[in-house]
Structure formats: C-alpha cells, structure tokens
C-alpha cells in the first residue's frame, strides 16, 4: 500500500486542519444571552461552513482527483519568487518611515535587480520615473501620499 500523499491530499489535509480549527474558534465567538437563545446567531454560519469544509476536505483526501508532479515543482524558480515576497513585505513595512517616493523607488530597483535587470541606470530611470508619475497623478486626483516619518522628522517636507 502506497502511503505517500499527493498534492491534492496534502491540500485536503491542510484544509481539514483549517476547518477543524475554524470550527473550534467559532465556538469561542462571544454571545450574549439573547443571541444564545436565538435560532441564528454569530456562530451559526461559521458552524455550517466548518462542517461543509470538513466534509469537502475528507472527500478530497479519500478520493483525490489528480496526481502532483513533485519533480516539476522542484524545477521552478523559487529563489526570486520568495525574494520578491520578502521584498514586498519589507516595502509595506518601509512605506511609513521612508515615505512613498523613496520606498517605492527602492522597491522597484530591488525588484528589477532580483529579476535579472543589472543595468543600474535603466532600472533607476524606470523606477524613479514611474514613482514620480504615479505620485504626480495621485496628487492631481487629490490623494495625499505621505513623504514618510523620517523625511518629515528631518524637516524636508511641509
């Protein structure tokens, strides 16, 4: 008997865990006395979804529909993809302290570099031009994009 799981079954297993956790968490939704007596309260739909999720995930584990080609997954370009995920997360964290213009320009230059564009002048030109164009368009539409805590602290912006 082959006990190895394919991708569908792994997904089903993860979703089974998620559905059980969701159902348990649903039972912790606070209810007042009136709501507890009510035929429909804040827990009702989550319970229904949790049960539906458990049924679906169980069926998916029992009758997996397709096989996963693990070898082809290993050949994907994981390094730049993971790098970009980290970069986007860092961009989000840097948006407030660095401000829109600096944070965005740096994000774009770094992303271009990660994807193999090594001409500094080209990546810098595209990044700064795009950032300033977007910032200008937003300013025209009356949308304020903050210059950043650091810039404000240095007194460079009004």
């Amino acid at each position: 008997m082959n006990l190895s799981l394919n991708g569908t079954q792994l997904g089903g297993l993860a979703f089974l865990g998620l559905s059980i956790g969701y159902g348990v968490e649903a039972s912790n939704i606070p209810l007042d006395y009136w709501s507890e007596e009510s035929p429909f309260n804040a827990r009702t739909l989550p319970y229904i979804i949790a049960i539906a999720g458990i049924v679906c995930a169980s069926l998916l584990i029992i009758i997996p529909s397709s096989k996963t080609d693990w070898a082809s997954l290993k050949q994907l370009n994981w390094r730049p993809a993971v790098g970009l995920l980290i970069l986007m997360s860092t961009y989000g964290a840097m948006l407030a302290p660095l401000g829109f213009i600096f944070a965005t320009s740096i994000f774009l230059v770094a992303a271009f570099r990660m994807l193999g564009i090594h001409q500094w002048w080209a990546s810098c030109l595209v990044s700064v031009a795009l950032t300033l164009a977007f910032w200008g368009l937003m300013s025209l539409l009356g949308i304020y994009l903050a210059p950043g805590d650091m810039i404000s602290a240095l007194g460079w912006a009004a």
Partner: protein, 498 residues
Amino acid sequence: MLDGILLGLHTVLTWQNLLLVFAGCATGTLIGMLPGLGPITAIALMIPITYGFDPASGMILLAGVYYGAIFGGSTSSILINAPGVAGTVATAFDGYPLARQGHAGKALATAAYASFAGGTLAAIMLAATAPMLAKVSLSFVSADYFALMLLGLCLVSAFSSQGEYLKALMMTCFGLMLSTVGTDLSAGVQRFTFGRMDLIDGISFLMLAMATFALSEALMMVLRRGQSEDVQARVDGSQLRLSLAEIKFVAPTITRSSLLGFFVGVLPGAGATIASFLAYGVERNLASKTDAAAFGKGSLKGLAAPESANNAACTGSFVPLLTLGIPGSGTTAILLGALIAYGVQPGPRLFIDEPEIFWSVIVSMYFGNLMLLVLNLPLIPYIARLLMVPRNYLIPVIMFFSLMGVYLVSFNVFDIQMMVFMAAIAVVLRLLEFPMAPLLLGFILGGMLEDNLRRAISVSDGQLNFLWERPTTLAIMLLVCLAILIPLARALRAYTHR
C-alpha cells in the same frame, strides 16, 4: 415609455452631457485598466467632481465611469490576468489564454463587441420592462435570495476543470470562511479577528482579489520564467476584426448571456459577478463537447459570455437602485450614496418625481456603450502594447500597482502584509491546481448569504421550512441539489472506474 425615452434623449443630447458620457467612459476605462482600481474606486474618485453638476448630469457622468471601469477591468483581465473587480474575473478565464496564444487583439475586440451588445440589449430591456421588473424583484424574499446565492456557490463546478469539483467546493468554503472575519454587524461581536484592530472591518475584497489574481499571477510568472513564452502583444488593425463565422459562433452566446446577465443584475445583491460566472457556467454546459473542452483555454464563447453578461448586469443593477432604492452591488451602493448626496431620494417615486434622472441614466447607458465601442476599439492596438513590455519590467510594475491599489483604499500597511501573505498561499494552492475563482465567489457572497439566511430563519421562527414553502425558493433549491449531486456523482464514478 416613449415619452420617457424622449425625455431622456432631450436631457442627454446636449453637448455638455454627451461630453460627460465621453469623459466618464474614458476616465473609467483608464482607471479600471489599472490592476486594483475598479469601478468602486473610479466612481468614489469622481463623486466630488459631480457635486457641481445637476443630479441628472452627475449620474450620467458616473454611469459612464461605471461602464468604462468595467471595460477597463476586462482589458487588464485579458492582457495581464489581473481583474481589478470581481465582475471581470470570469473574463480572464478565456481572455488571458487567448492573449497568451497571440490573439490579444481578437480577445479585446470580442470583449468590446460583447460588452456593447450586452449593454445595448440590456438598455433596451431596461427601458421596456423596468416597471414590471421592479415588481418581480420586489416579490423576492430573503429565502429566495439565500437559495439564489447558494445556487451561485454550488455552480462552482462550472469553473473547475474536469474532476476538480471537490477542490472548487473546498475553495468556496475557504472563501466563505474568510468572509466571516471581522465584526458581525447584527450582533456587534468580533469573529476570527484574534484581537487585531486591523481585522475588525474584515478582509478587504480588493486585497483578496489582488492577492489571489494579480499578485499570485506575477509570482507565477517569476516561478515559471523560462518555461513559457512571452505573449505576442503586437496587435494590428486586422486582428481587431471578427470573421462572419466567428460572429455567428458567438452571437447566440451573447444574446443568451445578455438576457441572463440583465435578469441576474436586476436582483439586488446578485450583480455583475454572479451574472458573469453564471453565464460562463451556462455556456459551458450548453456547448458541444469540443467547444466545452476549449473553455478555460481560450474559447471565444467563454470570453463573450461573461463580458456580455457583466455589462448587461450593470444595466440591470440600476433597476433596483432607481426604482426601489436598493443597491444591487457595491458599485451601485456608492451610486446610491451619490444620489442621496444630490438630494434625490431613490425609490418608487423617482419615476414620478424626477423622471428626467431615471430616463437620462437609461439613455446615457446606451450612449455610454456606443462611446466605449468607438473609444476602445481604435485604442486596442495601443492598449495591447502593454504586453510588449519585457516581463522583467512588467512583473514589478504589476506588483506595485496591486500593492498600491489596495494601499490607496485603506492607507493601512497591514493590508499590504496581509496581501503578501495571501498571495503566498494563493501561489501554493495554484501550484497544487486549486482554482482561485470559487474562493473569491465564496468570499463575495458570504456576507450576503449570511444576512439572507438570518432573515429567512428569523421570519420562519427558526424553522427550515422556508427552503420549500415558496415555489420560487423550492425551484431554486432543487437546482442547488442538482448542482451539488451531479458533479459529486461524476467525481465518485470517475474514482470507482480508476
């Protein structure tokens, strides 16, 4: 009715209002084309500008923006698989594969013609049947809406490829789970927020749509670099034409989908999203075996169906808005707010008290569709050049627009972090061949499903007899049972035959 149309023509056919229709369509197309910026954002941005106009002109401009943004969203769905709004998600199913096969021009032209036909047919139907349709939608009760939404969720089998029904159902459940995050407005209690203030208002639809489509698509491009060819983006004038055979091939689909889209759009809460998914599902089921196999791989029918349906539904969604004062979608909710801001009270009396507003909006819809065709078709070769930008430049730009599209709505960096997290999950799920569209549909319908279920259960004193008491509800529930059991039986049969 003829008097009404003449009144509408009289209002719209002034150079100022025609200019407003044109400006609305152009602005809407440009904004809607940017991944992450959909009609809601476009209309919200334009509302302050309309405060200086009379209500009819204001609504004419906003209706143009609405149409333009929907078409712009379709354009980005086709070219870069980044639907800015839920209504154009289904457009990407076949539009994007067509673009990848080098038929970007044909895909965009089909979308333009289908949108025009859908919008025009719906505008005619709206003018002809608005009072009667208002009565029909008035007769729907919570139980019917609940059943209808359940049907929409169960039809996920239409979006999943052969044998992947359970995966699609699982993703629907996942979407429903995500929709319950935040404050339960009826009881005022927090659910699944884990004490985080950022989650009190729930998960943003735009964030989820951008994470699961635009951002995950950009990441998939990175993962598969070298495995796929760049898209042939050069579109010349000849590619924008459809042959007579192609027109004959898609004409029945457009007619059926327009009718379906219009009637679904009339139902408050249903709107362009359900209409486009339903039309896609219906056409796939009606298609011959060979045609059905092409769905999801670049079928013209698969593209024309959601395009005509979502445009027709946009027109249909104005019926409950203008006649009942009930918004049929998030976008019409914003339009409702605009009407109230103009000092106009939408509802049954709008016909009587402000007929020029009602009829000018209807007539401007037709003109808006005409302008879109005139405006968009000649621009298609230029729009398609977006794809000629090298992937290494395009990917970070898509990521930037996706992140900004979400950030500009909330100005909360938590949404960016959440989006990156969701995109990572979406990539893993996509690699394991789990479909994303059912997740989004479950998420969109979750809130409305709960509201209607709550009302239906309250009305029936906690009993479940509301599911079969009314013939309408019973008929829809029977369809729900069929939509669950038939694909499930197929999946089980396929498993036992293996």
